[in-house]
């Protein structure tokens, strides 16, 4: 255990000393400031225009803005996950830094676990800070909270852990650049697949509808990140908004619980596969 925690500590140092963490946090805080300011002025305008009697409409707008804020956080946190972790194994293997670590009385899986844990802790803190920030801004300004904020957060969190596990898996085999490209590629596939499915749901022709749906399912199986986000939006939406409003974030189709369980299993499997590959890797 001690050895794992030493690697975890080393991972913290790595991220903080390499400044990328500060860049990510700085950007996030900057976003919160911009979001908070923008939200305030927008809401003030709308409150004047619509008036406080029409709570339903006001809440629709508040919900939309909250979800939009969460979307940016989701995006920022996902990118940050890939950026801070893509290099951790690949870089150490290619420079040979790993050689004095792996030759200590340390098992390979302990090295991977230490790294995973270090990044997981940092990402969790980042998500709480940022997503919490968005939700608090909305709450303090308007008193509004989304229906199931905690569930949405959990799903966003699972998405980050998924990306982290895939990043470490890639790191056992590929160079930093290749690793980054692969993950972003997978992310893109999931994203496009999600939109195809979404657009397909608005097409009345059943067969096209079905094909679009299947494409969406396949891309979600290849890379569940988009599915997790769609489910998170669903948790954030009030039933009324989903039923009445059309927003870019309203999802008529949302992934089932089975897909969420699959995503969790995928995350674990990716990590275990990373251990398997790293054990066999010539360093």
């Amino acid at each position: 255990m001690g050895v794992i925690l030493t690697i975890t500590r080393l991972t913290f140092y790595e991220a903080s000393r390499r400044k990328i963490l500060f860049a990510a946090v700085g950007l996030g805080l900057l976003f919160l400031i911009i979001y908070g300011t923008g939200f305030h002025y927008l809401i003030s305008d709308l409150e004047r225009g619509i008036g406080f009697t029409n709570q339903v409409q006001l809440n629709e707008i508040r919900n939309f803005l909250l979800t939009a804020g969460m979307f940016v956080i989701h995006f920022l946190a996902s990118i940050m996950t890939v950026l801070i972790s893509a290099d951790t194994l690949s870089g150490e293997i290619s420079t040979g830094t790993i050689q004095t670590i792996a030759t200590k009385p340390v098992r390979r899986w302990e090295i991977l676990t230490g790294k995973w844990l270090g990044f997981a802790i940092m990402l969790t803190a980042y998500l709480l800070l940022m997503a919490g920030g968005v939700m608090l801004i909305v709450y303090f300004r308007t008193g509004y909270t989304a229906p199931h904020p905690l569930r949405a957060l959990e799903l966003m969190w699972l998405n980050l852990l998924l990306l982290l596990s895939i990043s470490l898996l890639g790191g056992t085999t590929f160079s930093t650049l290749t690793n980054g490209v692969i993950i972003l590629g997978l992310y893109g596939i999931a994203f496009i697949g999600g939109w195809i499915e979404q657009i397909g749901s608005f097409i009345s022709d059943i067969s096209t509808n079905q094909i679009a749906f299947n494409i969406g399912v396949v891309t979600s199986l290849v890379m569940p990140s988009e599915a997790l986000w769609r489910r998170a939006i669903h948790e954030l939406q009030s039933p009324l908004v989903a039923a009445l409003g059309f927003s870019p974030f309203a999802s008529t189709y949302y992934p089932s619980i089975a897909m969420i369980i699959y995503a969790a299993g995928y995350t674990i499997a990716a990590f275990l596969f990373a251990i398997f590959l790293f054990n066999r890797r010539d360093l």
Binding site: G2, V3, T6, I7, R9, L10, Y13, E14, R17, R18, T95, G96, T97, Q99, T100, I101, A102, T103, K104, P105, V106, R107, R280, D282, L283
Partner: protein
């Protein structure tokens, strides 16, 4: 563990595709030995070392460290290693770096703090203790790497080209550290290109060429009575030179002098008489001790750079 040798390998081999990087490496290094591993670049020295340390899995064969299989994790708490192209996390300060590695060894903090100070003094880096490693020169990095390799008071230290980035002062430091470790009974396995240093520090030497060991000898035996002789003379002809080969080996003409090797001083008067009887005008006949470099080139061959 008892009296198992520090290192023992039987037909350890590593194949990459159709290239055999290391072939049937079989050697035995006893506890307390200083063992040198010599060979040109690409001969398989680093690959061999990586197999010993479980960085690379052998394709076939087996090895043991102190009687324990190579993939055992715990034995590595008794081993120190300095890689050839070492790299460390540049953003760590020198003392932090040693602390992390001490933690990885499982050394308790109260012990490691003192040990780190002791080592920084030993390698002459105490005044740079708080400097980040990415501000270190190559020589300084090599010294901190050496400190890292003996943090845990290992029973076996494996050094891959430990002096390659050092100035003469640094090289002397490494030699002294090796000597000190050896006196305390530490086994040392040394890959080196610096033949003059291997000569001075090692008890036994293995020569490796294209993945195979071609010679293992103790340094005393290596030169047993062997002398290299330089002859400056006139009126030599090819007949006389081939006549010399009944006593000598490695006859060569270098810069107008004839050089050859003999075993035993006693041959010198016989050779002189032979030359004089054949009307050769001998200006000088100088015997010298063979250097490891001469032997290296003979055994391993001139191909491949040093």
């Amino acid at each position: 563990m008892g009296s198992a040798p520090a290192i023992q390998t039987v037909n350890l081999s590593k194949q990459y595709g159709d290239k055999l990087a290391v072939k049937d490496l079989s050697l035995s290094v006893e506890r307390g030995e200083v063992f040198g591993f010599l060979g040109p670049n690409g001969a398989g020295k680093t690959t061999s070392v990586k197999m010993l340390l479980n960085l690379i899995a052998p394709t076939s064969g087996e090895g043991r460290l102190f009687g324990v299989p190579l993939d055992d994790v715990n034995i590595r708490s008794k081993i120190g290693f300095l890689p050839e192209h070492f790299r460390f996390h540049g953003w760590l300060r020198a003392n932090e770096f040693l602390l992390v590695h001490a933690d990885l060894f499982g050394i308790p903090r109260d012990v490691s703090k003192a040990r780190i100070q002791e080592l920084l003094d030993l390698v002459g880096l105490s005044e740079h203790a708080n400097k980040k490693l990415n501000a270190f020169s190559k020589g300084m990095l090599q010294r901190i790497g050496l400190a890292q390799s003996i943090l845990n008071n290992p029973e076996l230290v494996i050094l891959d080209e430990p002096t390659s980035g050092l100035d003469p002062v640094g090289r002397r430091l490494v030699r002294d550290i090796i000597k000190d470790l050896s006196q305390r009974g530490t086994t040392i396995f040394l890959n080196s290109h610096f033949l003059s240093e291997v000569e001075v520090t090692c008890n036994r030497v293995a020569f490796i060429k294209q993945g195979e060991i071609v010679n293992i000898s103790s340094l005393d035996n290596l030169f047993e009575g062997m002398l290299r002789v330089e002859l400056k003379a006139d009126k030599l002809n090819s007949e006389i030179i081939s006549g010399l080969s009944q006593w000598c080996t490695e006859l060569q003409v270098v810069d107008g002098h004839l050089t050859f090797q003999i075993i035993g001083e006693s041959k010198l008067p016989v050779i002189t008489r032979y030359l004089v009887e054949n009307n050769v005008e001998v200006y000088s006949l100088q015997p010298q001790q063979l250097s490891l470099e001469d032997l290296f080139i003979q055994i391993v061959g001139g191909e491949g750079e040093l």
